[in-house]
């Protein structure tokens, strides 16, 4: 067993974990944060994407012990005062999901992308989410949603909430 201390969606947790426990298992099975899902379990599909110290990672290919001392942000930590994050809202508004399984990872990766590139072209969005597979939508509305969110998050845009980009959990 190893003792780890992490901040997840703004709350501090301390736990003893087996070294082989994956971060995604820790989030789901220990913390009950089932918003982060497991698709492939082999670092391919991106469904399990979370932010580790502000950067997107695949939580199925990170050990919980590797997150010791770090801040983790999951899709569950995005809303503020009952308001969806602009990227969540844009996925809703643009029908960017069908079964919804890829959505948590898509949203977390899109927020990482917009942090690096606040105004991406369609091609840049497609490249930015290359590590997230969707088996339903054909990606069209996902790309639209990310570009829509980018517009809504621009300084001066009449967003219903402050334009927080990568720092959703800060």
């Amino acid at each position: 067993m190893a003792r780890i201390r992490t901040t997840v969606d703004g709350l501090v947790y301390e736990d003893d974990v087996e070294p082989r426990m994956l971060l995604v298992q820790y989030l789901r099975e220990r913390l009950g944060k089932t918003g982060t899902v497991i698709g492939c379990d082999t670092s391919n599909c991106g469904a399990c994407t979370v932010h580790l110290d502000g950067l997107s990672v695949k939580s199925c290919s990170v050990l919980a012990v590797q997150a010791n001392g770090s801040e983790v942000l999951t899709v569950e930590g995005l809303e503020r005062d009952g308001q969806l994050h602009p990227v969540q809202q844009a996925f809703h508004d643009n029908h960017a999901l069908q079964c919804g399984y890829c959505t948590p990872g898509m949203i977390m990766q899109s927020i990482d992308l917009l942090g690096d590139n606040p105004d991406p072209t369609e091609q840049e969005v497609r490249e930015g989410i290359e590590g997230n597979l969707c088996r339903c939508t054909g990606y069209q509305n996902i790309v639209r949603a990310v570009q829509d969110a980018a517009q809504k998050m621009k300084p001066g845009a009449t967003a219903s909430q402050p334009a927080s980009v990568a720092g959703g959990g800060a």
């Binding site: 997107s56 990672v57 290919s61 990170v62 050990l63 990766q109 990482d112 490249e127 590590g131």
Partner: protein, 335 residues
């Protein structure tokens, strides 16, 4: 996944000593390759020694105009560094051509160079594989060999290719790998880090157990290296490993090739420096005919695999087309 213990030392020497003391221990950097192999049962370590506290995450200027890249530098940071993008464009392009944003955020420079082959049989312990176990045969030779080697292969044995895009670009720019081993520190030219399978395909590199990569040095960029790029050809436009790739650097003066570097990915057990083609081109006119003749000379030694499930003879024209069009683009024509 089999249970293992976990250590996170704060000194590089401790990490090296931990491995030296335990033949079944492994270094852990980003884990993006190793964790998949733990889940699949390809490796079953007794202990993971996390090297994140003992490998630098800094990219430092060297006195000669080169750069020292700490082994812990994430792939995403390396690709975004303005000095790398400007002086070594092939290196930045190679990283961005590989994996995905999430993986590049987590993956380290050292781990990238030491990632294992993507041969599907290697990753599947239920199929025979000489690289996993010397007592077994190779499943790829009579199986799915589309991604496999055409150069540096023996009559039998492993035909796996090295999967790293970054390593191919580093070979083209003559990087030097800094290593700390149980007997002290040493420097290995990147072209000598990876090895051909020979009679021991279980070893991808010349490193011994316990050797820790601490940094990768890029020598001061030559005019050719400043005019370099990375071209990757794959089965889909993004998020796939290379069928064939080329890191190419070219300096043309008065229509003549003054300097050229060509490293190929997806063709051999190691990133393949095309020294025959380079020698054939130096001092020659920078024309398509010369480019084509030079790469044909390099491929003279090629031995593609003809397997019942689809071999890889298609790689011969693919390498030729890729190298010729990349050289043409760097010479100022349309790629």
């Amino acid at each position: 996944m089999k249970p293992f213990t976990y250590a996170r030392p704060s000194e590089a020497s401790e990490a090296v000593a931990a491995l030296a003391a335990d033949p079944d221990a492994r270094f852990l950097a980003g884990g993006t390759n190793l964790l998949d192999h733990l889940k699949l049962g390809v490796v079953e370590p007794s202990q993971l020694v996390d090297v994140n506290r003992v490998t630098s995450t800094a990219i430092e200027d060297l006195p000669d105009g080169g750069l020292r890249i700490g082994a812990g530098v994430p792939n995403s940071d390396l690709a975004a560094d303005p000095r790398v993008r400007e002086r070594y464009p092939a290196v930045a392009a190679a990283i961005l051509a590989g994996a995905s944003g999430q993986l590049r955020n987590m993956a380290s420079t050292g781990g990238n160079l030491l990632q294992r082959t993507r041969c599907v049989y290697f990753a599947d312990p239920t199929t025979p594989c000489t690289k996993r176990d010397l007592s077994q045969g190779c499943s790829a030779r009579e199986g799915w060999a589309r991604y496999h080697a055409i150069l540096g292969t023996a009559a039998d044995g492993c035909i796996a290719t090295h999967p790293s895009d970054l390593a191919v670009a580093l070979v083209a720019v003559d990087a030097q790998v800094q290593v700390l081993g149980p007997d002290g520190a040493r420097t290995i030219p990147i072209g000598e880090l990876h090895r051909l399978p020979g009679d021991d395909p279980t070893r991808d590199t010349v490193l011994a157990h316990g050797d820790l990569i601490t940094a990768v040095d890029l020598p001061a960029p030559t005019p050719a290296v400043r005019n370099s790029t990375y071209r990757k050809v794959r089965d889909r436009a993004s998020y796939a490993f290379a069928l064939v790739s080329a890191a190419v650097a070219l300096e043309v003066r008065d229509g003549t090739v003054a300097d050229v570097r060509i490293a190929l990915g997806g063709v051999a057990h190691k990133p393949w420096r095309a020294t025959v083609a380079e020698a054939a081109l130096r001092g020659r006119p920078a024309t398509d005919d010369e480019f084509r003749a030079a790469i044909a000379a390099e491929l003279d030694a090629a031995e593609p695999v003809r397997s019942p499930l689809g071999g890889n003879t298609f790689k011969l024209p693919l390498v030729t087309g890729t190298v010729v069009s990349t050289l043409r683009g760097l010479a100022g024509g349309t790629a």
